[in-house]
Point group: C2
Chain length 233, copies 2
Amino acid sequence: MGYFRGTLGIEVKADLSPVTVADKAVEAFVRARLAQDFPNDGVFGEEEGASGLDRDRVWVLDPIDGTRSFLSGYPTFGFLLAILEQGKPKIGVVGIPAMNEVYTGLGQAAALNGAPIQVSTQTALSDAILYIHEAEHMRAGDEAVLEKLTQTGATRRFAYDCYAHALLAAGHIDAVVDYNLQPYDYLPLCALIEAAGGVITDWQGLPLTLQSDGRVISAATPALHAELLEITR
Amino acid sequence: MGYFRGTLGIEVKADLSPVTVADKAVEAFVRARLAQDFPNDGVFGEEEGASGLDRDRVWVLDPIDGTRSFLSGYPTFGFLLAILEQGKPKIGVVGIPAMNEVYTGLGQAAALNGAPIQVSTQTALSDAILYIHEAEHMRAGDEAVLEKLTQTGATRRFAYDCYAHALLAAGHIDAVVDYNLQPYDYLPLCALIEAAGGVITDWQGLPLTLQSDGRVISAATPALHAELLEITR
């Protein structure tokens, strides 16, 4: 948080996504603690990559999910952490530092700052609050202008970061359709969504693993999930 | 804030946009105070419409900008207020209650919770942090799926509410391109952006008035503004 809305040292990766000093500092901090307390576990982080993925227990982390939010003073960025056992997500953590919120999921227990949360009871997609990653229609008649706009600027954003999934776990949003995610983006969501009573899979309805293609559906209920699968399949 | 993430009484307007009890309660509260303290002024609010637009001073307010955010627990919704004198915005206020932030602009003085703020010095669009309302490319190959998704759900969102403009005033975002706004959405931004040193006009470069078409460019510098105008014109 000391770097948020402050002076940033920005480095640009090959894919041109913005990376901040804070991003690296957070991952280095977590890795140092893991090396000390859990030296035999595997670790997979956005900044420093993967090691020991064949271990029984693997920690997966994204130090700052929503780097573009972070860079532009927008408070919805998060810290993501999953613990995998034999490749399956067992614990999920979504921290939203600018909001002083930590969402956690383990087994049947999901919580926001320690207080129990659960998903909504919404079963009809036609009534659902649905978050879709970067997918709105361009305004009729302005396509040419908007197309040009999306070709310019060094940093653009249209997304909701991990926060949408956390708000789904807390019952405020009914479904989220996402794509282009990395394992450190979606694996930390799994145990949280499931502990809160929701359903999270890929666009084919399969469980999310390290090998998934980065397309994700989170839904409050199986009925909603089934309706969305009909579209994504 | 008492209604945020709590139990909501939702009424649906003719255009199906969600309206909450909170929305109406806030506007009624402000209108009651104005009627008491400034009985001769005009008022234009989202919920109860316009009266006295021919008066020298007109208050323009949006009790909750970003109702869909508000409804889905997303903390970026705002309270907007402008004071117009002879039709020109003189004071602009953007409140972000969930963040405990109030942005104000009057003359040359822009502030966040009373502390001075100013726009960034960015002059090159190619380097700018640009927020575009609802305009990202659909992912190549998934257009059909995403098209269907945007036809479903009762509440969808892809926008940043008024907050993007406030963050521009505070120097975190360099430019915002918006459209489909109502006078109570864009007039409260004018005095704030200008007091912080930025430029705000419609897509033709004209000053924003009660009669504007709802298309807005906010930019930190005249150079950025000119680059964006070349695209929107």
